[in-house]
């Protein structure tokens, strides 16, 4: 028989709601998601919670637990102070659908705007060979489970919703970095990283890294290296001088995927 804990759960929809207290049993070794399931089964059958794998690999059960963006399935009950209520709220950055479930489609819109992997067309399928050292940087970024905790915690859009159109967020700037570091990729996304995806809005305060459940060093290994690449492209006075006197030609960078940024009023228009 476990002990009773107080769960203070945000309940509501369309942005309107309130924190409601529930007394729920919690057993040794359980995680927040276990207790939420017990709450659904015993007291609040209509409580909306998104979840899937319960193993920290699908990224579905992202929520804010005592104000910290975390995965409900990876947060043990034992980390909380006994007797203290545990507050559960939806991700603050995304529109709420109901209770703890938010609409994260913002992220899929951003994903579509990034030019995909662009290999040399002269290299045939199956012909390209690369060594482990060439891909290990990108492999770290491939650990991403798309829980969007980094997107949620980033103050650039969390506290300033007006930046949503201009800023892709750490997850997708990391995607840009991943492609830029790929040994077989031929596109140049440095201009759009700054101009279209808002890398300059990032002030590297590392909250994305702090909340990443996969422990990806988003800031140090993706965002800052990308900022340095952009600085070399756009803000290095010697590079600029070299391009002016013809010593370093400056070919045009790759554009964002057409029709996805809402410039032509297409279906990719930003929502939320």
């Amino acid at each position: 028989m476990g002990e009773k804990v107080t769960l203070r759960v945000w309940r509501g929809d369309a942005g309107q709601g309130e924190l409601v207290d529930f007394q729920v049993e919690a057993n040794e070794g359980e995680v927040i998601l276990d207790v939420l399931h017990r709450l659904q089964a015993t007291q609040a059958g209509d409580l909306a919670v998104r979840w899937n794998c319960k193993a920290g690999k699908c990224g579905s059960c992202s929520m804010e637990i005592n104000g910290q963006p975390r995965l409900a399935c990876m947060t043990r009950m034992s980390v909380f102070e006994p007797g203290q209520p545990v507050t559960l709220t939806p991700l603050r950055t995304f529109p709420v659908i109901r209770d703890l479930v938010t609409d994260v489609s913002f992220n899929y819109v951003k994903a579509r705007q990034i030019p995909s992997f662009t290999p040399d067309p002269a290299v045939g399928l199956g012909e390209f060979r690369m060594q482990q050292v060439d891909v290990q940087r990108s492999q770290e970024f491939r650990k991403c489970i798309e829980c969007f905790l980094c997107q949620n915690v980033c103050h650039v859009i969390r506290d300033h919703a007006d930046n949503e159109r201009a800023f892709a967020g750490p997850r997708f700037l990391m995607r840009v970095a991943e492609l830029e570091m790929h040994p077989a990729d031929e596109a140049d996304r440095r201009d759009i990283a700054q101009d279209d995806f808002g890398l300059g809005l990032c002030n590297i305060t590392k909250c994305c890294t702090e909340v990443c459940p996969e422990n990806i060093k988003i800031t140090d290994n993706a965002l800052i290296p990308m900022k340095e690449r952009v600085a070399g492209r756009k803000y290095d006075p010697l590079v600029w001088l070299g391009s002016k006197i013809g010593r370093r030609p400056r070919p045009a960078g790759t554009a964002a995927v057409p029709g996805t940024r809402g410039d032509s009023g297409s279906a990719g228009e930003q929502q939320g």
């Binding site: 945000w10 509501g12 929809d13 369309a14 942005g15 309107q16 709601g17 804010e64 005592n66 104000g67 910290q68 963006p69 203290q84 507050t87 709220t89 939806p90 603050r92 950055t93 995304f94 529109p95 709420v96 109901r98 938010t102 690369m130 060594q131 050292v133 060439d134 915690v153 103050h155 650039v156 969390r158 506290d159 300033h160 919703a161 930046n163 040994p183 990729d185 808002g198 300059g200 809005l201 990032c202 002030n203 590297i204 305060t205 590392k206 909250c207 702090e210 909340v211 140090d220 800052i224 290296p225 900022k227 340095e228 690449r229 952009v230 600085a231 070399g232 756009k234 803000y235 939320g272």
Partner: protein, 268 residues
């Protein structure tokens, strides 16, 4: 006829509290702001003090006065010669290095995080609502100048070479020849850590190999990149310890120069 239910309004959850965090999230930015303020106050006083920066018996020169280029510099302290006439210390004696070292630290990716959080509160802590109504990040002047970090890095490498020269000079014995004192060891630790901080810089990481797509085609640069990456992973620790060792080195030399105590000598 099927009745279509209207989609719910696309609105974020309206939660009035600035944060629901229960941990002491304010502690780290408060400590950071306090320590940085203390350090800046100390450094400002020392840089404009104009004395107690050189110990002629052992050739100890504080890093805050290296290179000493003012005509007022005491004999032996001006390793690069005096480039300026005798001016009051309202103009720092190390005028040619201090602005660039300051620029290097101000544009450092670690310190940016530290002061954006602790002073500018953008944000104060993760998942804590910041107090600003608008935000433009590093897209406009003056913060767009942070992109020049790599130039400050190169100049700081030159200053670190100079600090290394000052360290070699500090192996000077009381009666001439080679000597070793506590001050030499303090300067040694300071210079080693300064190199660790400088070479662990994110711009250095980019320059050595980070900008490459194919590490396998550049094995030497890849090796250098792995070494710099090791230092880079500890950049925050180097950033703080070098602030401490700079202050300690300067204070030790100042107290020696003021005659408060004498340098314990290991030999000569």
């Amino acid at each position: 006829m099927t009745q279509v239910t209207a989609a719910p309004a696309r609105t974020r959850a309206q939660i009035a509290e600035r944060t629901l965090r229960k941990d002491p999230w304010w502690r780290v930015p408060a400590v950071t702001a306090t320590l940085l303020t203390i350090w800046v106050a100390y450094a400002t006083v020392r840089v404009f003090m104009g004395h107690w920066y050189y110990v002629p018996q052992y050739h100890y020169l504080t890093p805050f006065y290296s290179p000493c280029i003012n005509g007022e510099c005491v004999p032996g302290s001006a390793s690069l010669g005096t480039w300026l006439p005798a001016l009051p210390p309202i103009i720092p004696y190390a005028l040619v290095s201090l602005p660039f070292i300051l620029g290097f630290r101000l544009s450092c990716y670690y310190y940016r995080r530290a002061y954006y959080r602790s002073f500018w509160q953008a944000p104060t802590a993760c998942a804590v609502r910041e107090p600003h109504a608008t935000y433009s990040g590093e897209t406009r002047f003056p913060l767009i100048m942070q992109n020049l970090h790599r130039y400050f890095f190169w100049i700081t490498v030159a200053v670190s070479v100079l600090n290394t020269y000052d360290l070699i000079q500090a192996f000077h014995g009381k009666t001439g020849g080679v000597g070793l004192g506590l001050g030499t060891l303090i300067m040694l630790v300071n210079v080693v850590l300064l190199w660790g901080y400088t070479l662990g810089c994110h711009s250095c990481r980019h320059i050595t190999g980070g900008r490459l797509k194919n590490f396998s085609k550049h094995p030497v640069r890849y090796w250098a990149w792995t070494r710099v990456s090791w230092l880079n992973a500890r950049h925050m620790q180097f950033a703080w310890t070098t602030l401490g060792t700079l202050m300690l080195t300067d204070l030790y030399i100042a107290l020696l120069a003021a005659g408060v105590f004498s340098d314990p000598r290991i030999f000569n």
